[in-house]
Structure formats: C-alpha cells, structure tokens
C-alpha cells in the first residue's frame, strides 16, 4: 500500500478542503429539509471526494452508458447528501440545486434515482443490498465492450446483512470480475445500534477473502490514506479478482457531536446544531 500516485490532480490539502466543503453541504442540505442521513454521509465525505476529484476518470458531460469512463454506484442510497454534493461540486449540476434536496419537485430525491434525470446517477438505490449486483453487471458490460475503465461501488456495512450481497460476492470472483473496486463503509453503526449488537458482521475481511476477493484495508477519514488505498486498489485491477476496500470510517466524522454514534444516522440538526457543525467545518471554498 505504498504506491504513491505519479501525478496528483490535487494536493491532499486541496482534497481536504473540498471534503470540508462537502461536509458543509451535507449538514446544510439535511438541515434545510429537516430530514436525511447526515451520519454516514459525513463519514464518507473523504472517500467520495477522493473518488470524484482524484481517482476516477469521468466526465461531467453525463451519458448514461458511461462508455470509456470509470463509473460509480452508490448502493447505500441513504447517504445521498454526500453523493449529491460531490456530483454538484464536480460540475454535474449547479451547486445551488443542493438546496432543493428532499423537497417537492426536486431532482435530488431522498434516495438517488435516475427517474428525475439527475446527471451522474445511473441507478436508483435506497432499498438496500442491490448495488453490488448492479456494479457487477456494469463491470461485465465494460468487459464485453472492451472498455478498460473501472467500476467503483460503495456499500454500508450494515447493508451486508441483505442476502443479495452474498449472491453477488460469490458471483464476482467466480466470474473474474477484476475491473470492480467495491468499498465497504465500515463504521460499525446502523439505525438500531452498533452492527455488533444488531447482527454482527464478524470478520468481514475473512469472509470476503473466503469468497475469493482481494481485500485491502484503509482509513476512510484520512485523505492521504484513502488516496493511497484507492491507487493501490487500481493497481490490483485486471488480475483476475474483484477488489474490496474495507474502509474504516466514523459515522458523523467532522462534526464532533455527531461522531461515532448511530444516533445521527438519520436525524437532522436543528438551527443551533447546524451553526455548531458549520463552525467546526472551516469554510474552505467560501461559497456555501
């Protein structure tokens, strides 16, 4: 995991600044509609920033088939705020549209969908456990199309309790889907409490390895570590195995009173809490 990228598009500091702005977007969006899932969104802000601003080869001139591009699939659709923020900040649509999140007539539905034609979204997600299968299908289409781009997917850890994942986890190595990098947001929390208490995932690394995946570990709230991990993951593609990035994060990362607790899984901050959260997130891009 010591692979240094040859040429970075951004410095780590720049990426951290973008991630801070993404976090500001997240708390504002959830506050504005008094609904949504800030905890997991904040925890994945660093990863999503790294992916969209540094790692993926993608075009904001959105085409559904994504031929010649790296594609991303969000399986745990409830962390839509981080997805929307990163898409907007990458240039898929105007940042001002983030203010419509979860409001009537918005393209930014509570859970992402293709139904409203939002650029950057290629599948609906929300009902959990379906994203790995979709990512595998997209990866197999890339292979048929002789398109050497990479498919990325993100899944919650609690989401792995859905059985469809294990159908997909079994299928991918058997069929040598080696253009797929799936990431598990390993924060140990779900709505009803810690995963250890709700339904323990036990040893995820051993489970994925037993199914035939190449598993790497990363710290999902350390930008430098994430970028290195994702470059390393890329270097493992094309070698006959799907790659799993088991990424430790803290739910609510970046806002001290939201961190580490499942209580902020799906709760919106009030006015005071919003102010407190924004005070902790330096206004790096100074535009929202």
């Amino acid at each position: 995991m010591n692979q240094q990228p040859q040429l970075m598009k951004h410095t780590i500091n720049e990426l951290e600044d973008i991630a801070a702005q993404v976090r500001r977007d997240i708390v504002r969006m959830v506050h504005a509609c008094q609904s949504g899932h800030p905890g997991g969104s904040l925890g994945c802000a660093d990863f999503m920033t790294a992916l969209y601003f540094e790692i993926m080869n993608h075009s904001t001139d959105f085409k559904m088939d994504g031929k010649g591009e790296d594609l991303f699939f969000l399986s745990n659709g409830h962390i839509s705020p981080v997805f929307y923020s990163v898409l907007a900040r990458s240039g898929y649509f105007e940042v001002s549209e983030l203010a419509t999140f979860r409001k009537l007539n918005s393209r930014l539905q509570g859970h992402p969908t293709t139904h409203e034609g939002l650029p950057g979204v290629r599948i609906a997600s929300g009902s959990l456990g379906q994203g790995m299968s979709v990512a595998i299908g997209a990866a197999q289409a890339k292979k048929l199309n002789k398109d050497h781009s990479i498919i990325y997917s993100l899944h919650g850890d609690g989401e792995l309790q859905e059985g469809q994942n294990w159908e997909a986890i079994m299928y991918a190595p058997f069929n040598k889907i080696d253009n797929l990098i799936s990431t598990i947001d390993y924060n140990g929390q779900q709505i009803d409490g810690p995963t250890e208490k709700v339904l323990s995932l036990e040893n995820l690394q051993a489970k994925f390895e037993a199914f035939g995946w190449h598993v790497i570990n990363s710290d999902g709230n350390d930008m430098d570590a994430i970028v290195k991990a994702l470059h390393y993951a890329k270097s493992l593609t094309g070698k006959g195995k799907p790659i799993l990035n088991l990424m430790s994060t803290q739910m609510g990362y970046g806002v001290d009173f939201m961190m580490g607790s499942h209580k902020w899984h799906g709760v919106a901050p009030n006015d005071e809490q919003l102010a407190a959260a924004l005070a902790q997130l330096s206004s790096t891009l100074k535009d929202y």
């Binding site: 293709t114 290629r122 599948i123 609906a124 299968s133 199309n145 299928y171």
Partner: protein, 319 residues
C-alpha cells in the same frame, strides 16, 4: 367464423428460445442471463451461438436482476430467464428499484407461468405475476399464446426500449398462429369477429377461447374473440370497439382473477363503457399438483367454462 387448426403442438418456451437466438443474431447487444434453468428456458441455442454473451448466474435471482440492470448501463439488452414465480414475486423489490424505477432496458422472461407447470405444485406455479408486474409503472406486460407468437414477441421486445415482462408457459400446446407474424406490442389481435359476446383471452387461454367459440357457434352464438397478448399497455381501443358491438364480455386468463387481465378490462369498461363481464380465471386460490389438463379442468379454465361464462354474460346483458 374463421377456422383455426393446427398441425403440431409445441411449448411456448421453445418459441422464446428460438426468438432469443434470432434477437441475438439481429442485435449484438442482446445478452442472456439464467438462474440455473437453461434447459427449462430453452436458452441452449443462444448459448451455443453466443457463449460470451451468456451469463450463468446460479440460483440467485436477485443478483440476476441486478446484474441485468447493470448490463443495460453499458448498452446491453439483457434477457433474464427463470420460472415465472422466481422472476417476479421473489425479486419484486429488485425489479421495482433497479429495473422499473430506474427505467432499465431489461427483458424479464418467465416460463412455467400459471397452473400448467403442473406436477411441481403451487410453490413453482404462479397465478399472481401479471398483477405484480402490471402494477409497476413503465413495465410492459406480455403473455403469449403459442410457439410462434412467443418467438415473435421475443424478437419484438428486443427492439423495444424499456422494461418488459414476457410470460409464457411450460406445456406443449397447439401452434395456430402465423409463423411469420408481425408482433406489435400493445396491439390486440382479432382472432375471430362476432357480434353476440366479446371473449378476451391471453396466453394458453386463447386456444381454449377458440375451442369455446366453435362450441358457441353450434349453440347459435356468434362470439368475437380477441387475443390480448399485451396486457399492459392494454389495447383499449380494440376492447371498447368490440364491446360497443357485443354489449358483453368474458375475460379468460391462467391467472388469479384478482390483478390480471380481467381486472384491467373491468377498469377500462367501468370508466368508459360499463358492460356486463364474466371472469374465467382462478378464483383466488393457489394451485396444486396434477397434470396441466387436470388442473385446467379443476380450476375452471376449460373451454366449457368459457362457454358457460359467455351464456351467462349474454343473459345479464339482455336484462
């Protein structure tokens, strides 16, 4: 009255297999997925011709639907194949979110629909699938009546953009439609013109309706028979035109009377042209083991049931 005969009997699913091969030859983006039922779905010819375009998923239907949805994103036209029960109820949420709501160009192809799977019994039969699929916004629902029509429909849906549910059966039944027919999605097929009663049938029940029409003719009743192969979108104009003429209607389907073709017709007529209607369908029941013929008789899906329903509805219309 037009006379229908047949020279051979074939299973509708073989029509699917033949159509899939043809669709694959016409369009290199056509791919096929199967959940461990290649033989049942008659996919062998496609696999032999296009091995790299076939995905054996194993016994994992939810994964199959998701992979199919993902394949469409790369421009593929996936045809999934398994029994109707496992094609619909088992994976309803996957179809709803990853296919229908996401408007993915997936063709969900389901064999062994209805009662006539026979001896395997109710766990493998399904009588609710038309209802489940037609309730999904944007889903096209097709139920074909014989080998030739199934083949034509399979080729046609490959050229149609959008999610489709294609339903067909297991048994060997008369082949009575034209081998070179043009299949138009959403366009009813006039089997026989008549003036006394409209008989609207789908799937295996179309042949039963033809048999019933002959019996009715002997009784002096001139039945108009319409094959509704596309249940959604329903050819409303064809139904209304016929019912305006006859003033009464019998719907026939190998499906629960709740949620099927009959209800679609009733909904249309209740708003546009209230008309006496009788339902030849399974009366809110699961199936059971038996031969296809035994089951069709026991559950009231024979031509004799259609004749009785026609006589009854004509009487009601004259009141």
């Amino acid at each position: 009255m037009k006379k229908y005969t047949y020279t051979e009997k074939k299973d509708t699913r073989s029509g699917f297999g033949a159509g899939l091969l043809e669709a694959g030859k016409k369009n290199p983006e056509v791919v096929a997925l199967c959940a461990d039922l290649v033989g049942s779905l008659k996919m062998d010819a496609f696999i032999k011709e296009f091995p790299e375009r076939f995905f054996q998923i194993g016994i994992a239907e939810a994964n199959m639907i998701g992979i199919a949805a993902g394949l469409t994103i790369g421009g593929k036209v996936p045809f999934t194949g398994t029994f109707a029960n496992f094609s619909t109820g088992r994976v309803y949420d996957q179809i709803r979110q990853s296919v229908a709501y996401s408007d993915k160009n997936v063709k969900i192809c389901a064999s062994h629909a209805g009662l006539t799977l026979g001896e395997d019994g109710a766990t493998h039969q399904i009588l609710e699938d038309i209802g489940l699929m037609k309730m999904l916004p944007g889903m096209t629902v097709i139920n074909t009546c014989d080998y030739n029509q199934t083949k034509a429909a399979t080729i046609a849906i490959a050229e149609h953009h959008g999610p489709v549910y294609l339903r067909f059966g297991r048994p060997v039944i008369p082949v009575f439609t034209d081998p070179d027919q043009k299949f138009e999605i959403g366009k009813a097929w006039m089997v026989n013109e008549g003036k006394d009663v409209t008989i609207i049938a789908t799937g295996h029940m179309v042949w039963k309706a033809i048999e019933a029409g002959e019996k009715l003719a002997e009784l002096g009743i001139d039945a108009e028979i319409i094959n509704i192969h596309t249940i959604k979108p329903l050819d409303e104009a064809a139904v209304l035109k016929s019912v305006k003429k006859t003033g009464c209607v019998v719907t026939c389907e190998e499906h629960n009377k709740y949620g099927g073709l009959g209800e679609s017709v009733a909904r249309l007529l209740s708003t546009e042209l209230p008309t006496p209607q009788e339902f030849v369908a399974v009366n809110d029941s699961f199936g059971e083991s038996g031969t296809p013929d035994q089951l069709m008789t026991k559950y009231g899906l024979d031509s004799v049931n259609i004749v009785e329903a026609a006589q009854k509805v004509i009487k009601r219309a004259k009141k």
